[in-house]
């Protein structure tokens, strides 16, 4: 044992800082690429698992003591991944000039994207305004915050027909209320909540010393808001925006279904599910379209994130001020 063993443990690698300092903030090229590859790999793994289950799973479903515990793996319940993609190229109905399933899904996606976007933007504006009002006046926060929370406990399914019903009788000047506006309104109704709560939390996050500093400058509320509270709220706003984007898409799709609005992904899902017992590939295509809409919105939020943080220094932590970073 005394023989000098070769130094198996190589000298510890230099602790690699995740972001090299020479790069401008926000630029993480290598990491981005790696993440992208990871996402693609994840999708491929998911497809492989799907096919694996199809290959070995019981075609009529598994039962344990008479209770169904495993889904059926036959072609109707679980079409092959390539069958789902193949279906996109087929015509919806066998008449000349009929759209392909893929074209229908794309059109429906575009319809839903527009509606969700209107809803998301409305939701963000309303959420931010509410948060600012609540941060400005304690009494507004006390009076409003409980209702903001309660608003989210009302089931969407119950709300959608009501909104459509009110909206149907509205004439705002020359503008007649359109059915899609009801859908956008419901999307906004879901989207405003995380923004209002997250933004309020962010606006209230500056530490006592930072606020005392602004007071020592005799800064007005507005200046304190602009120079301190607003920038401090950004790290809280970003995750809220992610939630809001997802909520807006879900809200729009569900609201399309429950208000019976034609043209969007929600309606397409209803249409395709009616033929799902014989051919479920189409339904999966519609669901795929919904997922892609969600991804697009996640991408939009990421762009917004880059825009909001490109000027920031690194090591940004919620709280607004840096603590001691070692000397």
């Amino acid at each position: 044992m005394t023989t000098a063993s070769p130094p198996t443990a190589s000298p510890p690698a230099e602790p690699r800082t995740r972001v090299s300092r020479s790069r401008p903030p926000g630029w993480r090229g290598g990491e981005r690429l790696r993440r992208g590859l990871l996402a693609v790999t994840a999708v491929l793994v998911l497809c492989a698992l799907w096919e694996l289950y199809k290959a070995i799973g019981p075609a009529t479903g598994g039962r344990l003591l008479g209770v169904p515990v495993l889904p059926r793996a036959n072609d109707i319940a679980m079409p092959h991944t390539w069958a789902i993609l193949d279906e996109l190229g087929k015509q919806e109905v066998r008449t000349a000039g009929s759209d392909t399933v893929g074209a229908s899904v794309l059109k429906a996606m575009w319809f839903t994207i527009k509606i969700s976007l209107v809803g998301l933007v409305t939701g963000i504006v309303v959420g931010v305004l509410l948060a600012v009002a609540m941060a400005r006046l304690k009494i507004v926060e006390r009076g409003l915050l409980p209702y903001v929370v309660i608003s989210q406990t009302v089931p969407l399914i119950a709300l959608a027909p009501l909104v459509a019903g009110w909206g149907g009788k509205l004439h705002l000047g020359g503008l007649e209320w359109q059915r899609w506006m009801s859908v956008s309104l419901i999307a906004a109704y879901l989207a405003f909540f995380p923004v209002a709560v997250g933004m309020l939390r962010g606006l209230q996050s500056p530490g006592a010393n930072a606020l005392e500093l602004m007071r020592s400058y005799a800064a007005s509320w507005w200046q304190t808001f602009l120079r301190l509270r607003l920038p401090t709220s950004v790290p809280f706003l970003l995750p809220a925006l992610r939630l809001a984007a997802a909520s807006a898409v879900i809200g729009a799709i569900v609201a399309e279904i429950s208000t019976g609005t034609r043209g969007g992904i929600g309606r397409l899902i209803v249409d395709y599910s009616q033929s799902a017992s014989s051919n479920s590939s189409r339904l999966y295509d519609a669901v795929l379209g919904a997922a892609v809409v969600g991804l697009i919105f996640a991408g939009l939020v990421s762009l917004l994130e880059v825009a909001l943080t490109w000027r920031r220094g690194r090591g940004a932590a919620p709280g607004g001020t840096t603590q001691k970073a070692g000397s």
Partner: protein
């Protein structure tokens, strides 16, 4: 706002170098605290007496430290002077103005234990913050930030982000920011409390130099006896609950950098005595002992 206060005249009196820090009668004191009580209500109905019967007068150009055990109200007193807290009773005047008026007139700059730099602003951007709030033009702001960064020895770091700086460097930026409006009074709340001992001593020497160069009146809250003795003309020793000033100790260290104009025994030029020389003389240790005994006499800590 109509009363025009006379400009500070640091070299007014030939006796200013004497052991008595008391200002000549004609001079308006930099800070005058009279009979200040600060009482905080406590949840459940009781109350905490944070300050009781505080009287303190600080002369223009003077450096006064507030020292005492945790909870003695020294930070509270600093906040009362800065009009960040309104005293329950008593009166505070800063350069002859009522405290709130003095705050709005930017008579003082303040720095805390946490540097509290805004992480989304560069070092220069942080120093410019007060100037920006007061509507100073961009070019002037840049210029002033450059001057101040030179003063605190960070001239090359204007474009850095706070997170890239060490704790000591961040604290220098915080002090530069406090000096941005050329305040006549600097309020420091344990500014070096979170730094290691070596950095701390270096920062103390820096602060002594900055004070010497700018002639600013300073009130420093600190836990550290050597820090108080090294920097101060007078040390106010405080006792806890209710917080009161039990003793005011004059500190006269030969060869130390004083306010500008008051050269003392030291040549005010480049070959000023090193900070270590000041810390190693008998007068320094004597003063440390005096403060320590005053603290002990103040009650259990």
């Amino acid at each position: 706002m109509t009363s025009t206060t006379p400009p500070p005249v640091p070299a007014l009196s030939p006796t200013a170098a004497g052991p008595a820090g008391a200002p000549p009668a004609v001079e308006v004191p930099a800070v005058e605290v009279r009979g200040v009580d600060q009482v905080f209500p406590v949840a459940g109905g009781g109350q905490t007496v944070a300050l009781s019967g505080i009287d303190l007068t600080v002369a223009p150009g003077e450096f006064v430290s507030l020292i005492g055990p945790s909870g003695c109200g020294k930070s509270t007193l600093l906040r009362v002077v800065g009009d960040l807290l309104t005293p329950t009773r008593g009166e505070v005047r800063v350069f002859g103005q009522e405290a709130g008026e003095a705050r709005r007139a930017q008579t003082y700059g303040i720095a805390f234990q946490q540097a509290g730099l805004l992480e989304w602003r560069t070092v220069a951007g942080n120093i410019e913050l007060p100037l920006q709030v007061h509507g100073v033009k961009k070019k002037e702001r840049r210029e002033r930030a450059r001057e101040l960064l030179e003063l605190v020895g960070l001239a090359d770091f204007a474009g850095h982000w706070p997170a890239q700086l060490s704790g000591g460097m961040q604290q220098r930026v915080a002090i530069a920011r406090a000096l941005a409006e050329r305040p006549r009074l600097l309020l420091l709340d344990e500014p070096f409390g979170a730094l290691d001992e070596m950095t701390r001593e270096r920062m103390q020497a820096e602060l002594a130099r900055i004070r010497h160069e700018t002639g600013t009146t300073v009130i420093l809250v600190t836990h550290s006896i050597p820090e108080a003795v090294f920097l101060s003309d007078r040390v106010a020793v405080m006792s806890p609950r209710p917080g009161r000033i039990t003793q005011l100790i004059e500190v006269d260290l030969p060869g130390r950098l004083g306010p500008p104009g008051e050269s003392g025994d030291a040549p005010s030029t480049d070959d000023a005595p090193s900070a270590d020389d000041v810390r190693e003389q008998a007068a320094f240790f004597a003063a440390v002992t005096a403060v320590r005994e005053a603290l002990r006499a103040g009650g259990p800590t």
